[in-house]
Symmetry: C3
């Protein structure tokens, strides 16, 4: 299965990253792909390799940043660690993925 | 596609309204309808035309208020701006919409 | 219909329990089963019979505790009230239930 995860709050990033790792471990081979979408205040986590490293280092896990949130926080896309994908809007990505059959999880 | 949005926290209303506008802009013609359900502490936003105006003014966006939350806060339904729809429970509305095929987004 | 509910924040437990009761009342016979998954900081609620009693006492409502969160908080599974079910991970349970066709609600 494929899962799209939403992370919105900057003060929940550490716990959310931990929960995604738990999800990957629990689902094992059942899991085809996880996309973790950072937006709103949580967008700052995408600039920190340390914050998103446990996700970027895993197979089948993708880190996605919301362009609207990057702009709102004055963060340059060039400052993002290699491997982070940028989308027009985090909410649009979450909705489109569900439309494609992905399972939704908000952390 | 059709999207049902949940707004629960009074201190997240401004950000949620912004995210719904971003969603509408990002999805464009792909989007048939968005229903934004306010409940729990966020219910107070529905009494403020200023808070929900950016939503009420948009085509294809509907504002929904939870009757349980209105009662809990002592808010009269008559005090709601024109265009706000009241449902028995916000959570019931969110679940029923998904059952009808709507996509779920929590802000 | 069947609904899987996620409760993550310890400070939102009382409101979440109230919302689940509202959901059960609103949906009536439409509702086949609700599974309320406690994880992250909300896991502490599962140790308190008083907190989860309004759920455990209801037909068609199940209370589920995340083992990862129990371990992280140093809570013994033996200390849980009778009727609470333990799963490997709360997030895995939420995703699997959706895969089986359950509707998702985050409180």
């Amino acid at each position: 299965m494929k899962v799209v995860v939403q992370v919105s709050d900057s003060d929940k990033v550490a716990q959310a990253v931990k929960s995604v790792v738990n999800l990957v471990n629990d689902l094992g081979e059942e899991l085809e792909e996880v996309e973790v979408v950072f937006h709103q205040s949580a967008i700052v986590a995408t600039t920190s390799a340390e914050s998103v490293r446990p996700l970027l280092d895993r197979e089948r896990v993708k880190v996605v940043a919301c362009r609207n949130s990057l702009k709102a926080q004055g963060i340059s896309e060039d400052s993002l660690p290699r491997g982070v994908k940028v989308v027009t809007s985090g909410v649009g990505e979450i909705v489109r993925r569900q439309k494609e059959g992905w399972i939704y999880l908000k952390l």
